[in-house]
Structure formats: structure tokens, C-alpha cells
């Protein structure tokens, strides 16, 4: 039995170590995918060990190297990290399964490159999840941006290049122009970047300055996609669906929200956060993003684009939850990381399945599709419920706590916004499966051709994630405990 420390190291190294194997086996697709699958399963097992260790009170810590004095690459296990790592590593298994079906059915080129950069991305996600200080987080935040770039531009077309350009410019731009100076200023003011309960700033630090820092942080963490720096997310939708589903519904965007939570709770501290002049301002900006992104989503006919804008909106739920600066809000945000992940990945999987099996990407053409793809469409329905926040799906709980948190903080406006957003979610998500099953007078274009679903591995993946949406409603206790522990 390895000690928790070694496990922590392996969690970060393992996905990276799969890379030479993937390259070596590039001419043997079955073995190559086998390695991917095996790596993802092992990774999940390792993260589970860390989770077990954490629940009995362990907090493993590893220091790799001090790059500059006081600035080291080091990792530590904590509640939010475990939560994020569990979600990401579990969904990596499912996505790999899904990708095997999807990439082959779609006959994509450069599949080895795809799996390699996927592994790099997961390695950096793990490093982000367990980073012990802001410096480590920033380093791997940037690595994640660069590692996902080849995945976004996978198709290599002019459209993919343009999308990649927007992706890189916005993510690198915000992180360099806002995030980095915020980190350096934090270092210059407080002398520490280590995540600390209650924050790192001394009590007498100028609140005007801290308020400005918060602005820099929230805008700098471009991966959380707060408006007006959200454009990269729709642009990233040119990527193959497995990338959109794991990375741009779970890993990358959650890394953004994760950073926001870490900065809010462990760099500023909720108490400090509550007293800053810019907190409410940013809260309203997040609320604005929630509503406007939903409205934009309604106007998208391309399914993936609609889902992308829905993600932009949902990410701001989580950012808003942190900015409430109450422990309940934080709880809601942390839980929503998991709930939104399972819901949104299900929807993306379905979108990919529809593309592969029925070659449709526009919503207007999906009328009556329930006849050919009943299973996919049923899963889409469950995923939608979770995003909206209706029982019997997990999304109910996180929304519950977000609303309770808003009430506690006397932010009535946010309560209204969250309610309104649920209505908008219903309006842009539910019609898709409903019209698929009940097309009304319009006859499906090709007539009845019987059931024609996506390849089996992809279907299994869809089944698991939609099942998880329901299970998280029935058994939310473990997730609740983890999320409760985030604020310390």
C-alpha cells in the first residue's frame, strides 16, 4: 500500500506517463485506446485512495521544486481538490469510452495526437486540483490552455484555426494581463501565495487595493467565462465532441470556477471578500452573465453552440455563489461543479451521438429524432433536468443551496435571477427532447427507419452519465460532505 504522498505524486504523473506509451502504440489503435482506458481507470482508483485518506483526516502534501524563493510547485490534498479530481478523473474514463466510439465512427485523423493531448490536459487538471498555492495553480492553468489548443484546432480547417485563435488570445490574454499581475501583487502585498483558510492578507491591507485585486482575479480567470471574456467558449466548440464534453463542459471551465473558489475562499477568505467594494459589482456582473448567456443560448440553432452558451451561464452560477461570500453559497458552488459536470457532459455526449448517428448538428432538424434515437433523447431529457435543477436529478441540490445562500446574503436580486434562469433553461433545453419524441404534424424528413443509435461504447457512456445525474439526486451525502468542507 502506497502512502498518500506517493499517491498524490502518481495522480499527477500517471496521465503524463501514459503519453510515451500512446506514442509508441500509435499504429495499434486498439492497444492505444486500451492504454488510455487503463490509465483513466487507474487514475480514478488513485484519486479514490486520496479521497479515502482525506475522509479519515489525512492531508498529504508534496513539494516538487522551488522555482523562486517562496514560489514552489507543490501539491496538497484538500476537499475541493478531491471533489474536482474525483469528478474529472471519473469522467475521463467515461469520455475515453465515448471517444473510442465517436472518433472511429467519425473517422477522425490524428487520433494519437488527440489522445496524447487529452492525457496532458488531464495531467494538468489533476495538478490544478491539488495545487497547494496560487503559483502552482497558475502554472498548470497555463499548461492546460496550451494543451487543449491542439484539441480545439483538431480539424485543422480555417474555422478551427479561427476558433483556436480566439481561444488562445482570450485565455492567454486574460491570464497574462489580469491574472498574473494579480498573483504578483498578492505576492508583493502578503508575501505568500499558499492557499490558507481565512485568506493570506493581513487585516490592515487597504480594502481599496484588495477590491481592485478581486477585479483582476475574476476577469483574469478567463476559464470561468464571465462576460465580457466568454467568447472563447463558443469558439472552442469547433473541437471534436469528446473534447467539448470533457474539457469544455468539465475540465477546463471547472478549472476556472475551481480557481475562483480557491481565490475567493482561500486567498481572500470569505470574511474579507464580503467587505470589498467590488464583490457586489462582480456579483451583479455574474448575474448579468447568467441571464444574457441564457438569452443568447435560446437564439442558437447549432446544438453545441447552444450548450456552450448554457455553460457560460451556468459557470456564472458558481462564480456568483462564491461572490455571495457565505458558506452556503460556497457549498452551492462547489456542489454545482459536480452536478453541472454530469448534466452537461450528458448533453454533449448526446449532441455528439446525434452528429455521428444521424449527422445532424442543428436543432431545427432534430424534430422527431426520438424515433430513431430514443435512448439518446431520453438521456438528453435527464441531462436537461439536471441543468435546469429539477428533481429527480442532482442539479436540484446545488441550485437549492445557491438560492439558500443568496437568501442568507440578502441578495434578493440573485434569487430572482436564478429563478428566471431556470425558466430560460427550460425554454431552451426541454423543447429539444420533447419535439424529438412528439414532433407534432411535421413528419420526420426521412420517415421511419427504425432505431439507429450511436456506437455502443458511446451509448454506454451516455447511460452512465445520465444515471449519475439521478444517483446524485438520491445519494448526495458524500458530495455534500466534501463541498461542506471546502470553506474549512
Amino acid at each position: 500500500m502506497m502512502g498518500a504522498q506517493q499517491v498524490l505524486q502518481w495522480v499527477i504523473l500517471l496521465p503524463a506517463m501514459a503519453i510515451p506509451l500512446l506514442l509508441l502504440l500509435r499504429h495499434y489503435p486498439n492497444l492505444r485506446e486500451g492504454v488510455s482506458l487503463l490509465a483513466s481507470i487507474t487514475l480514478f482508483a488513485l484519486v479514490t485512495i486520496l479521497y479515502r485518506d482525506f475522509t479519515v483526516g489525512g492531508s498529504a502534501e508534496v513539494v516538487w521544486i522551488a522555482i523562486m524563493p517562496g514560489l514552489d510547485i507543490s501539491f496538497r490534498v484538500d476537499a475541493l481538490g478531491v471533489l474536482f479530481a474525483l469528478v474529472a478523473s471519473f469522467l475521463w474514463i467515461i469520455t475515453t469510452l465515448y471517444a473510442i466510439g465517436y472518433m472511429r465512427a467519425h473517422a477522425e485523423d490524428n487520433q494519437t495526437r488527440f489522445y496524447v493531448f487529452f492525457a496532458v490536459s488531464i495531467a494538468s487538471v489533476m495538478a490544478i486540483a491539488f495545487s497547494a498555492n496560487l503559483f502552482t495553480l497558475f502554472v498548470f492553468y497555463e499548461v492546460l490552455t496550451l494543451a487543449t489548443y491542439p484539441l480545439v484546432t483538431h480539424a485543422g480547417t480555417a474555422k478551427a484555426r479561427a476558433g483556436g485563435r480566439t481561444y488562445l488570445t482570450l485565455l492567454v490574454g486574460t491570464s497574462v494581463v489580469f491574472f498574473l499581475p494579480a498573483i504578483i501583487a498578492t505576492y508583493a502585498i502578503s508575501g505568500s501565495l499558499t492557499f490558507t483558510h481565512g485568506g493570506v492578507f493581513a487585516a490592515d491591507t487597504s480594502p481599496v487595493l484588495l477590491g481592485a485585486l478581486l477585479l483582476l482575479f475574476i476577469f483574469g480567470i478567463g476559464k470561468a467565462a464571465i462576460m465580457p471574456f466568454h467568447r472563447w467558449l463558443p469558439a472552442a466548440m469547433v473541437a471534436p465532441t469528446p473534447v467539448s464534453s470533457l474539457l469544455h463542459a468539465v475540465a477546463v471551465v471547472k478549472a476556472g470556477v475551481f480557481s475562483v473558489i480557491k481565490v475567493g475562499a482561500l486567498i481572500f477568505g470569505l470574511d474579507t471578500l464580503a467587505g470589498l467594494w467590488s464583490t457586489d459589482l462582480l456579483l451583479y456582473l455574474a448575474a448579468f452573465t447568467v441571464i444574457v448567456a441564457s438569452l443568447v443560448a435560446m437564439r442558437q440553432d447549432n446544438l453545441k453552440a447552444r450548450l456552450a452558451y448554457s455553460t457560460v451561464s451556468q459557470l456564472s452560477y458558481m462564480t456568483a455563489g462564491v461572490l455571495l461570500a457565505t458558506s452556503t453559497g460556497l457549498l452551492g458552488s462547489s456542489m454545482h461543479i459536480a452536478m453541472h459536470a454530469f448534466g452537461k457532459i450528458t448533453l454533449f455526449f448526446c449532441a455528439g451521438a446525434i452528429l455521428v448517428a444521424a449527422h445532424k448538428s442543428d436543432i431545427s432538424q432534430m424534430r422527431g429524432l426520438g424515433r430513431q434515437m430514443p435512448f439518446t433523447m431520453a438521456a438528453f431529457f435527464i441531462g436537461s433536468l439536471s441543468i435546469i435543477g429539477l428533481p429527480p436529478t442532482g442539479g436540484t441540490w446545488s441550485k437549492w443551496y445557491l438560492i439558500t445562500g443568496s437568501l442568507e446574503a440578502d441578495q434578493w436580486a440573485l434569487v430572482v435571477v436564478l429563478m428566471l434562469s431556470s425558466l430560460l433553461n427550460i425554454a431552451y433545453l426541454l423543447p429539444i427532447p420533447l419535439r424529438a419524441f412528439f414532433p407534432g404534424d411535421v413528419r420526420p424528413l426521412e420517415g421511419a427507419v427504425g432505431i439507429r443509435e450511436a456506437p455502443l461504447p458511446s451509448l454506454i457512456a451516455i447511460g452512465i452519465t445520465s444515471l449519475m445525474c439521478v444517483l446524485l439526486f438520491l445519494f448526495p451525502q458524500r458530495l455534500y460532505d466534501l463541498a461542506r468542507a471546502v470553506g474549512g
Binding site: M68, V139, L168, P181
Partner: protein, 491 residues
């Protein structure tokens, strides 16, 4: 061992006539390699000595300073010597094949002669503690550089060389005028001695004039915006290997010279009451960063693109100086080292492309991501380092520069420095997109990976970009101590 400070300069200097007599491509190359590697070993040993037993003072010919010439190696000089000789050794190793693309084999022996002369000049500027000696070595390195640039494959190399000759001569003359003034006031040429006597001189106007002449003269050599116009042509039309060498060393030595003259002779606080030098440096540095980066974004030729990028990066170094603090100076010294690594790697990789494809226009890079994967990966990593991505040296430089700006309370400067790195992203990504997304054209079709010697030199530099981005012990400690020493702050 006591003679190492002078051997550092004399070995390459003496190698030049020997190479002239030898006059055979292959043997000349071998001798150049031996000479440069020896120089590198000497500079490494010098740095070790300075670390363990402090500044080395060497009396040339046994004549005691201030009558005789003194070679003075402190931490700063040892650090710069290491960069210059290290890059020289890599360039020498890669030149065996690297020169073939641009220089006919019967001219190559001459090139090695000039190369060793230039190296001796650059090392001499750094090693000497005598002001007139600086001028002599500056002329040695400059004259050989003009000739080196003129050996470029296009006729336009002659024009570039001539342009640089005119500007360089003006710069050297200014420097000489400044030195003359100082000599007339203090009666000595030894830097230590001048530093001690200058505060006692009461002819303030003459000292200020001398200072102005010296600063402008050196700034011409280091291509500070707006005195930079000679540089793009020189870098673009010189033989590729010469570009690698010049980009990684010549401007660095000029920056060294500025720091040395400013801090060691005049002192960090000289003339601040009559001359807003720090503000001037901040403004010109930032103007250079932005102007050159914006021009770089539009360049159709990759060598020229990175030449403009060099002007921008020099701007960063000058901004660090302009901050006027220990951390600012440290940022400059770090970037001096780090930028040599980045541009060395980039221009070396480009030399590989020129060797295989025969040009360095953007069109010559189409589809090279597949055809020359190692070379293009080197350009990518060098480019990321230029942008300042974490785990590369560029990040370390940027960190200290921004930290210095914030610490000095100049947060707009910090913001501008970071915005400029986004511009670097734009110009680097133009190459990345062409290399990785475009199909090979008739220009690039059939290109193979660069020859092993060049690839090896490239990847040593790329490796250094990553290594010194993670293990910063050597660069950080040296630059910190040197900066404290120069600013007169006790650690």
C-alpha cells in the same frame, strides 16, 4: 589559473591569426570549436572563482593599476562572459553545416577568423576594467561584425552592413568623446579609479556631457528604440549562424556596457537631479516594446520578425533599468541571460529551416510542423518562452520585471509590460499556424529535419530555456547579488 581572466580574451584573439594561416574549412571549424569551448570552460571557472573568493583583479603585464591595464571580473562580468562564450560555443559547433546554406566553402575560413575576432572583442569588453580598453575591444568586435554581416548570401547584406557601419561608428565615436572628457577631468582610465575621482571633480557640466555622449553611444549599439533602425536589416541579411551569434550576444554585451558604465563608473544615482534618465529609460523602453512588437506582428520574414522582437525585448531590459531599483536591475540582468537563450534557440532553429528550405519567409514554413517536427517544436518552445509562459525562462524575467514595477509603485508599467506579452503571442502564433496548419507547398515539399549538429545546438538552447525556467538558482542568485552589488546595497 591566475591568468584565466586574460586567457579568456587572448585565446580567441590569438586564434584569429592562426585561423587565417590555416585557411581550410574543416580544420578551421575544428579549431574554432576548440577555442570557443575552451573559452566557455574558462568563463565557467571564472564564475566559480568569483563566487568562492570574490572579485578577481588581474594586472595585465604585471603593471599595477591605475597605470597598467586591469582586467576586473566581478559577478556581473563573469555572468555575461558565461552567456557570451556559451552561445559562441554552440554556434561554433553548429556552424559546420549551418554555414553551408549561406556561405561558400572557400569563404568559410575567413568567417571563422572574423567570428573569433568578434568573440574576443565581446569578451574583452566584459572582462576589462579599463575604459579605453573597452573602446578598443568595442571596435574590434564592431569591425568584425560589419564584415560578418556583409558575408550574407544576398547583395542586400552589403547595404545592411554599411548601414550598421555608419551607425556603429557614430556610436563608437560618441563613446570615445565621452571617454575623452572623462580622461581630461580625472586623468585616469581605470574604471575603479574614475569612480573614485569623479565625485571630486567640480566641472559638473563636462561630466554631464560625457555621461550623455556615453549613454547615447552605447544605446546606439544596443539598438534602443528609436536608435534601432540598423538592427532588423543586419539580423535579416547576415548569414543565419551569424544572426544567432549576434542576436544572443552582441546586444547583450552592449546592455552590459550600459549597466557597467552607468552603475560602476557614474553610480546609480548620478545626475538624477539634472537628467531624468530613469523616466527616459522607462518611456523609451516601453515605446520600443510596443513599436517593435507591433511591427513584428506584420513582418513577412521570420528572421526580420524576430529581429524586431529583439528590439522589443531590449526594451524590457531598459524598462528594468529605468525602474531604478534592485529588483528592476535584477530583472534586466535576468532577461539579459534569458533572452540570449530564447533568441539563441529561435535563430538557431530558423538557421535549420534556412538550411533545408532555403529561406526564412513565412511561406518557407508552410507545413514544416510535420516535415521538421523537432525544429518546429524548438521554435514553438522558444516562442512560448518569448511570450513568458510558466516553466520557461521568459516567465522568470517577466515575473521579476512586473514585481519590480509593482514594488516601485508603477503599476501602469506592469500592465503595459504584460499587455505587450500578448503581442508576442500574436507574432509567434503567426509562425505556429503556418507551420502546423498549412499543407507543405512546392517551396517546402521534401524538406527533412535539420542536420544533427544544428539540431543538437538548438535543443541544448531549448533545454536551457526550460531548465533555467524551473531551476532558477544560478541565474536568480547571480543576478540578485550582482544587482545588489551594483546598486551599492549590502545583501
Amino acid at each position: 589559473m591566475v591568468h584565466l581572466p586574460v586567457l579568456q580574451v587572448v585565446i580567441p584573439l590569438m586564434a584569429a591569426p592562426a585561423l587565417l594561416l590555416l585557411n581550410r574549412p574543416w580544420q578551421s571549424w575544428l579549431l574554432t570549436c576548440v577555442v570557443t569551448i575552451t573559452a566557455f570552460a574558462i568563463s565557467g571557472s571564472l564564475l566559480g572563482t568569483v563566487y568562492s573568493s570574490g572579485t578577481i583583479s588581474y594586472e595585465l603585464g604585471g603593471w599595477e593599476p591605475p597605470w597598467g591595464i586591469e582586467y576586473r571580473i566581478d559577478l556581473l562580468s563573469a555572468y555575461v562572459l558565461l552567456i557570451v562564450s556559451g552561445v559562441a560555443a554552440l554556434v561554433a559547433v553548429a556552424s559546420r553545416q549551418g554555414l553551408d546554406a549561406d556561405v561558400a566553402s572557400d569563404k568559410q575560413p575567413t568567417l571563422y577568423v572574423l567570428f573569433c575576432l568578434c568573440l574576443a572583442g565581446l569578451l574583452g569588453i566584459v572582462a576589462t576594467g579599463d575604459l579605453f580598453n573597452v573602446f578598443v575591444f568595442l571596435e574590434i568586435s564592431s569591425l568584425s561584425t560589419y564584415a560578418l554581416i556583409a558575408m550574407g548570401p544576398h547583395r542586400r547584406a552589403l547595404w545592411a552592413s554599411y548601414q550598421y557601419l555608419v551607425v556603429g561608428t557614430i556610436g563608437a565615436t560618441f563613446l570615445l568623446i565621452g571617454i575623452g572628457f572623462i580622461y581630461s577631468l580625472t586623468g585616469t582610465l581605470n574604471m575603479q579609479d574614475i569612480a573614485a575621482r569623479l565625485p571630486l571633480v567640480d566641472a559638473a557640466h563636462t561630466v554631464h556631457t560625457a555621461f550623455a555622449f556615453i549613454v547615447v553611444g552605447v544605446c546606439l549599439k544596443l539598438a534602443l528604440f528609436p536608435l534601432h533602425f540598423w538592427l532588423p536589416n543586419a539580423y535579416t541579411y547576415a548569414p543565419s549562424m551569424v544572426t544567432v551569434f549576434l542576436a544572443a550576444t552582441a546586444t547583450k554585451v552592449a546592455v552590459y556596457l550600459l549597466i557597467r558604465l552607468h552603475y560602476s563608473i557614474f553610480g546609480p544615482n548620478f545626475a538624477l537631479d539634472v537628467l531624468p534618465l530613469n523616466t527616459l529609460f522607462l518611456v523609451l523602453g516601453l515605446a520600443g516594446v510596443f513599436a517593435a512588437s507591433l511591427v513584428a506582428v506584420q513582418q513577412p520574414n521570420v528572421k526580420r520578425l524576430f529581429a524586431y522582437s529583439s528590439i522589443a525585448q531590449i526594451g524590457y531590459m531598459i524598462v528594468g533599468l529605468g525602474l531604478g531599483t534592485v529588483i528592476g536591475l535584477q530583472a534586466t540582468l535576468l532577461h539579459l541571460f534569458n533572452h540570449a537563450l530564447m533568441k539563441g534557440a529561435l535563430f538557431m532553429a530558423i538557421a535549420g529551416v534556412v538550411y533545408r528550405v532555403g529561406g526564412s519567409d513565412l511561406a518557407h514554413f508552410a507545413g514544416l510542423g510535420r516535415l521538421m517536427p523537432w525544429t518546429m517544436a524548438a521554435i514553438l518552445i522558444g516562442g512560448l518562452s518569448l511570450i513568458g509562459v510558466p516553466l520557461t525562462v521568459g516567465f522568470i524575467s517577466k515575473w521579476y520585471l512586473v514585481l519590480g514595477a509593482l514594488e516601485a509603485g508603477l503599476w501602469p508599467i506592469a500592465g503595459l509590460v504584460l499587455i505587450a506579452s500578448v503581442l508576442a503571442l500574436f507574432y509567434v502564433w503567426r509562425i505556429v499556424e503556418v507551420a502546423y496548419f498549412e499543407a507543405p507547398t512546392s517551396l517546402t515539399e521534401g524538406a527533412r529535419e535539420a542536420p544533427l549538429g544544428m539540431l543538437l545546438a538548438t535543443w541544448v538552447l531549448v533545454g536551457a530555456n526550460i531548465f533555467f525556467g524551473i531551476d532558477t538558482e544560478l541565474t536568480r542568485q547571480t543576478s540578485e547579488l550582482a544587482a545588489q552589488h551594483l546598486m551599492g546595497v549590502q545583501p
